[in-house]
């Protein structure tokens, strides 16, 4: 890898939950560097710690071993300096707020002026192709549109890292394809660094510059695959031999990590 700045860097990172049935090693000895402008997918079976890694980076969980820096800071400092936007599995829009008011919510909390809130809301809704929907309530939108609004909200305050935890997991495949394409376009336009958790091999291969393959018990990284695909991609690329070869390698990585044992 090049000398580029490591936006997220983990060394010997570990997280053990103490439960009634004994300790659970959600993460063990994870060494990983995510560089500026990368699109990094985390893939692996349930319990492999992919979501936990993202949550540790976001200061939503505290590691029990090793260290991790985000933009060169501790996760807590990074959170407080608004280094990242986080998109959860469900859109998590507040049902009593309009789409516009939902996107403005983090800006209100961070104390942006009203006019600036409006300006930013209009800009990010345009980015996710939801202009004109700011006065609608979440229930008036489809699931895919709600998730786009949720992404817009995460983009509203100019964090240069976007952490996404299976954001399209609950959507059907056709909607998911379209959102994947839009996400790539958005990534190209904004130059953000993206950490993306997924269950889907094609999704991981289609989106990413790097694919982190993880395995469970204990949660660890078994392989980091650097994509050979060009940065600009269309959905057609999924039919190419190069794409299929990458998908095969991911599947091999998962198998090596005993992801298919059960």
């Amino acid at each position: 890898m090049s000398e580029r700045f490591a936006v997220i860097e983990a060394k010997g990172l570990g997280l053990t939950f103490e439960t009634g049935d004994g300790p659970v090693h959600a993460l063990k000895d994870v060494d990983l560097a995510i560089h500026k402008g990368d699109f990094v997918s985390f893939i692996g079976p349930s319990g492999c710690g992919k979501t936990t890694f993202l949550r540790v980076a976001a200061d939503l969980e505290q590691p029990t071993a090793g260290r991790i820096t985000v933009n060169g800071m501790s996760p807590e400092e990074a959170r407080k300096s608004r280094s990242y936007g986080y998109v959860f599995q469900a859109a998590g829009l507040f049902p009593w707020r309009t789409i516009g008011a939902n996107v403005r919510l983090p800006l209100e909390i961070m104390g942006y002026e009203r006019a600036e809130q409006e300006r930013r809301m209009a800009r990010v809704l345009e980015l996710v192709e939801l202009s004109g929907f700011e006065k609608k309530y979440p229930w008036q939108l489809s699931g895919g549109m709600q998730q786009r609004a949720s992404i817009a909200r995460a983009l509203a305050f100019d964090a240069d890292i976007l952490l996404m935890d299976e954001p399209f997991g609950a959507l059907d495949e056709i909607v998911r394809d379209k959102l994947n394409e839009q996400l790539l376009a958005l990534w190209a336009r904004t130059g953000k660094t993206i950490g993306f958790v997924t269950h889907s091999i094609p999704e991981a291969v289609f989106l990413s510059t790097h694919i982190v393959v993880m395995s469970p018990r204990p949660g660890r990284v078994t392989d980091v695959i650097e994509s050979t695909l060009p940065r600009e991609r269309t959905l057609d690329i999924r039919e190419t031999p190069e794409f299929l070869a990458l998908a095969h390698r991911v599947r091999e990585g998962l198998r090596a990590g005993h992801a298919y044992d059960e």
Partner: protein
């Protein structure tokens, strides 16, 4: 319109039972009177006698309606014999107690949700407070407050508050805890302060729990205000009307006060229902 027939049927059944009950309960006295006068009552005479006594055990609906009309529309509004005057006295205490109870309930719920010590220590007392019969504690509250010079509306309002804060605490603790972990995590990623999380997430999320609690609370407030009027010497208010009615055997008067209390309760609950719908619309509800 299809809903009208079942409703009319139920109302008719209630009135039929009521009239039958009046015959059954008032018949002994009617027979007694007839025996003293040395006359034999036919069945129609007996029935009509049970529905027109001055102090029946159970007054018939039309007697209550007549008394209700006479004591509201048929009496000067400024008169202390007007039932509306007594209703107003009770309503003022009810609303004051309801406001105090709602405020106290919400404050306690905020404390319980945000403070671990309060969560562990306050809730048992809140529950214990409701296991004490209000009839036992009401005279003590009146006497104690009276001895420090607090009289009139406030002691009644405090008894009313004592009953009404409970449903609000229970409902609002549940409501403030209703946002799921993901939404709370989301607020954390934005480094929202506790008060921001409360104002922008917990409070709006709790409103579906607030209104049902308020409906229970307002009915409890009314009961509290009426009970608060009983030991005050029966000066004014619906409770006083009931008490003086029972002193003098004026059952018709007791029942018209009861009907007034029922109307008040229904109206108060209806007003909260309207507020609930307005809040629902303002919060983007589908209705």
């Amino acid at each position: 319109m299809r809903a009208v027939l079942p409703v009319v049927t139920v109302v008719a059944a209630i009135f039929a039972l009521w009239y039958a009950g009046a015959v059954w309960l008032n018949a002994p006295w009617a027979r007694d009177q007839a025996a003293r006068a040395g006359v034999e009552l036919t069945l129609p005479e007996l029935v009509s006698a049970t529905w027109s006594q001055e102090r029946p055990r159970l007054p018939a609906p039309h007697q209550v309606a007549e008394e209700f009309w006479k004591s509201t529309a048929g009496t000067r509004l400024s008169s202390k014999r007007n039932l509306l005057y007594h209703a107003w006295v009770t309503l003022a205490a009810t609303l004051t107690g309801f406001a105090l109870g709602t405020g106290l309930g919400i404050l306690l719920a905020v404390g319980i949700v945000h403070d671990r010590t309060m969560n562990a220590s306050v809730m048992p007392w809140v529950i214990a407070s409701q296991t004490i019969p209000i009839l036992a504690i009401a005279p003590m509250i009146i006497v104690v407050l009276n001895s420090v010079g607090v009289t009139g509306l406030l002691p009644k309002a405090i008894i009313s508050m004592y009953l009404s804060f409970f449903p609000v605490v229970v409902g609002m603790v549940k409501g403030f805890r209703s946002p799921d972990a993901m939404l709370l995590d989301q607020m954390r990623t934005w480094s929202a302060s506790r008060s921001q999380t409360f104002r922008k997430l917990r409070w709006p999320a709790s409103l579906p729990y607030l209104f049902p609690s308020l409906k229970v609370a307002v009915a409890a407030s009314l009961v509290g205000a009426i009970i608060g009027e009983l030991p005050t010497g029966a000066v004014a208010g619906l409770g006083a009307r009931m008490l003086s009615g029972s002193y003098y055997g004026q059952t018709v008067q007791i029942w018209s006060a009861l009907v007034m209390a029922a109307i008040l309760a229904a109206a108060l609950v209806a007003v909260i229902g309207l507020a609930e719908r307005a809040a629902g619309r303002a919060m983007g509800g589908r209705a």
